[in-house]
């Protein structure tokens, strides 16, 4: 009998739905089993229909064997069939929650509990139902979503507190809250809130993100948003988003807000900004050049100053040494002179004049010999004059 085989399988601990139907009659039954094998709890009507078909199969089998005692024989068989059906129905309540998932159990639509990863059982359909949500999956959302098209204003333009316009793009990373039990003051955990309290979570995150980012950017100046404040702006808008989402009991957790772009609004403005950077570079360069000039000319001047000083010192050394030498020479000569003044004087005079006149062209004119008369005409002198002509 098919169901006996089935019950035998059950006894040996093998899953009955893993086996193909033995009687293989190709009716609804097989289809239902396939459906249940996929983990879907069967609904009540289908179950009833299935049990009716089991009965139908049971009766003809009995009828074929023998007419009279059929009614007595069928009672335990019906009971067994009912037990099997009940067992199968109860087994359909087994469900598995994968790591990183949470399952929300409802009883007739009413929130019951949240169960974490592992093997669990719920009262089978239609009494209880289970919905699983991946609570550790972090989802990325780019705001603005569409890429910027050239020739059009970026959708990420927003006004800053100092009434400038900045082009902002950012990414929101979010997931479903992963608490298994409800936080104090809340009726249900985050994952149940996520399922029951809000519609269109994606759209909600997007709108809240846009509103929060614009609010924070509107509070700050352009320079701050573009430079030092990027991180701070992202953090503050994250806090603002989380506050709003919590106030809606949305069960959404913002993991991070990343600012991917904070730029001037159009190419023209961007160029002006770049020119400021270039100007800063220029400024640094001309100052650097001037410093370089200083570093060049000042040491050179110091070197020159040193040269001037050394020259002066050399002069001083030379002049004083010369003076001392001359003085010493004079002293020597004077000592000699003092011994015999007259003779020394004569000798010195004559020696000097001898040396001086020796190499010189000399013309000696005797005044007494009369004007125009040359008593001595040195030959070498005349020759020199002729040679000169």
């Amino acid at each position: 009998m098919p169901w006996q085989d089935n019950s035998g399988n059950k006894g040996s601990g093998r899953g009955p739905w893993g086996q193909p139907p033995r009687n293989g009659s190709g009716n609804n039954d097989g289809g239902n089993r396939g459906g249940r094998g996929g983990g879907e709890p069967p609904d009540l009507e289908e179950l009833l229909q299935a049990s009716r078909q089991r009965l139908k199969r049971a009766f003809p089998g009995r009828g074929g064997r023998g007419g009279g005692g059929g009614a007595q024989l069928s009672k335990p068989i019906i009971g067994l069939g009912a037990a099997v059906v009940l067992g199968l129905w109860l087994f359909s309540g087994v469900y598995q929650v994968a790591p990183g998932e949470l399952a929300v159990v409802t009883t007739f639509g009413d929130y019951q509990k949240v169960s974490g990863p592992g093997l669990h059982w719920h009262v089978p359909a239609p009494v209880q139902a289970v919905r699983k949500e991946p609570v550790l999956d972090v989802r990325d959302m780019n705001i603005p979503s569409n890429d910027r098209r050239s020739g059009q204003l970026s959708p990420g333009l927003m006004l800053t507190g100092d009434k400038n316009i900045v082009d902002i793009a950012f990414t929101v990373q979010w997931r479903i809250k992963s608490d298994v039990s409800a936080v104090e003051g809340q009726s249900m955990p985050g994952v149940a809130q996520y399922l029951f309290n809000i519609d269109e979570p994606e759209a909600l995150v997007r709108m809240i993100g846009e509103a929060a980012m614009r609010e924070i950017v509107g509070r700050n100046t352009l320079d701050f948003v573009q430079t030092d404040g990027r991180l701070q702006v992202a953090e503050q808008s994250e806090i603002l988003m989380q506050t709003a989402l919590d106030s809606y009991n949305s069960g959404i957790q913002i993991e991070r807000v990343n600012m991917t772009l904070a730029e001037p609004p159009t190419n023209e403005v961007n160029e002006a900004f770049r020119d400021v950077q270039a100007a800063e570079q220029n400024q640094a360069t001309v100052i650097q050049n001037a410093r370089q000039y200083t570093n060049q000319v000042v040491p050179e001047a110091r070197g020159q100053a040193q040269r001037i000083l050394e020259e002066a010192r050399a002069y001083a050394a030379e002049r004083t040494a010369d003076a001392r030498g001359q003085a010493a020479r004079f002293d020597e000569i004077y000592t000699e002179y003092a011994r015999a003044p007259e003779v020394t004087r004569q000798r010195m005079y004559l020696e000097t004049v001898e040396r001086v006149l020796g190499d010189m062209d000399k013309i000696i004119i005797d005044e007494d010999a009369g004007s125009g008369v040359v008593p001595y005409l040195p030959l070498n002198e005349l020759r020199g004059q002729q040679g000169g002509n």
Binding site: T107, I165, I287, E367
Partner: protein
Amino acid sequence: MSKLPLPLLGVAIVAVLIVIVNSAFIVPETHSALVFRFGEPKNQYTDAGLKFKVPFAESVNFIDKRNRNLERPPTEIIARNQERLIVDAFARYRITDPLLFYQSARTEDVGESRLGPQLEDSIRAVLGAVTVDEIISERRSELMLRIRDLITQSARPLGVEIVDVKIRRADLPQTNSEAVFQRMIAERRQLAQQYRSEGNEQANQIRAQADRQVIEIKAQAEEEAQKIRGAADGERNAVFAAAYGKDPEFFAFYRSLLAYEEALQKGETRILLSPDSEFFRYFNNLEGRRQ
């Protein structure tokens, strides 16, 4: 049981099922349920679970009780200082009185088409009374609360609670944006010019300081050098004075001889001599008598 004919049993089971299906209904966590008997409201369930009604005579209507989104297309508002702003705001609302909501709007779509203009009116009323600066930065969150409170009042007859109103975007109209861009460009140009001029200013200052330092250093060196030279000259004079002071007359003689020798170098110098000079004292006269 077994005496009953099989088809009859089937019919009975089907009949019971139909009755059950028609009387029991499940209210999900996301919705409220309204039970009407021939159009007359009989019951209202705001909690989830398995509920029952009289089969066939009563019908059920489900109304969403989640936190729902209410959006309007962006509207241009005129702020108090006559500046224009394009505001895109949204509201989050919940249907707290499903029966009231059903009676006045029937469906969520109809309800939203009534709430929409109310949201727009509230935005205009609140934002029209303040300046653009207040909307953009100073009082944004406070203004959003004011809009919420205003629309809460007008939404009350619909059985709706306004949870929150947020200004999603508040931007200048296109033409004003262009003006802002031009202003930003002008500001940047000015800043760039300032950087460049300041750079030149500092560079000039640094160069001038360098030049001054050069002149100072050289002048100080010259000063020092002159002192050194002067001291040396002084010492030279002192040395000479000490040596020559012993016999000024002889010094004059000696120095003159040195000077002659130095000054009358050989070469082109030519000298006219008288035979009567001291040098020729013995030239004509053995006794050396003066003539």
